[in-house]
Subunit: 205 residues, 2 copies
């Protein structure tokens, strides 16, 4: 079985959104062989770190949380589209030639996947593209940026996707993945009441 | 596709080893709509919480860490054995009737899976059973307790398994899973240099 591991490594040197210090995971030693009979590591981590999925509460006051998670929607076929030609953001017109149908889960591979440091001008999904995807009735969308949008006042891309019950995965690493259809296993570390969940994701060829 | 989600929910009310306060995950709000334009949750978590895998550093000074992780060893067929008749620990003799072969990955379903609070007398893998499994040359073993052993001075079960390069998964939830062979996707949140990694695990029937 051939599969691609498309999750990010969580480390203290990893890229975090806007390079903010308080978004970096903090590792500490909970016990070691000086203080006990075992070695245990702790991490303090924002749930929007690395590869993760967003829930509506992330952008909508009193919005839905991880309590609404339906794992069936993360274990399914997905279409990876190569968008490495895009220089700024993915616009409505960039989607015209793509085979996107109702209930598809689509992943956008962009030049973000080739960068390991945070780029303030990362490729994102523009409002017009989100509207088109919502109109088509897709089930989910993933991108290889830490955010699915940037520099859009009011976060319309998130809002449009959430309002149409479209799952959002951020922080994928798709460098090695050719454009194709795969079977995705996007498994979350389940936590209640949350605006995001950490994911570990593989794509089976 | 029928699958079983066999991972534990990570919450502030969840069971933790020996009910220790400092083993409980701590959730906090990194930002909300009073302080910013998005809602973000943080968690501080010991990596031996819930469903996770251990690395040798957990019990062996300067032992191997998560840097040695081979994901292929966590995506593979597994055998679930129903051990719900066991009252204390799994002993060598309890394994005699089981079909365990070289390179198997085996998961023990015990009465632990039916308890949501920490039981100081949880069912564990006794040293003699670990020796037999090491002798058989298995590739991995999982259990539905937060520890694979208890009350054994020097942690011999961990040591024997680590010395034989046997992967250890702890904190599974197997209540709904009948004894059978499954295909396991045990996907970790990858972190470097660690004595453990959080896992999200499904078993495909």
């Amino acid at each position: 079985m051939k599969y691609y591991d498309v999750s990010m490594l969580i480390s203290k040197e990893m890229q975090v959104y806007k390079n903010k210090e308080d978004k970096k995971p903090i590792f500490s030693i909970a016990s070691d062989f000086n203080t006990g009979s075992s070695h245990e590591t702790k991490v303090e981590i924002n749930l929007h770190t690395g590869t993760h999925m967003d829930f509506p509460l992330h952008m909508i006051k009193d919005g839905q949380t991880s309590n609404t998670l339906n794992l069936d929607r993360l274990i399914r076929s997905v279409k990876v589209f190569d968008m490495t030609h895009i220089k700024d953001g993915i616009d409505e017109k960039d989607l015209n030639s793509l085979d996107i149908k109702e209930n598809d889960f689509i992943l956008f591979k962009t030049i973000n996947s080739f960068e390991d440091t945070f780029n303030y001008k990362f490729i994102y999904l523009k409002e017009s593209a989100a509207r088109l995807l919502a109109h088509k009735g897709i089930a989910g969308v993933g991108i290889d940026a830490l955010g699915i949008e940037r520099d859009q006042k009011g976060h319309p891309t998130h809002h449009i996707l959430f309002e149409h019950d479209i799952y959002i995965i951020e922080g994928l690493r798709l460098k090695e993945v050719p454009e194709d259809t795969y079977f995705m296993y996007a498994l979350p570390i389940k936590m209640p009441d949350s605006d995001a969940l950490l994911l570990s994701v593989i794509l089976v060829a």
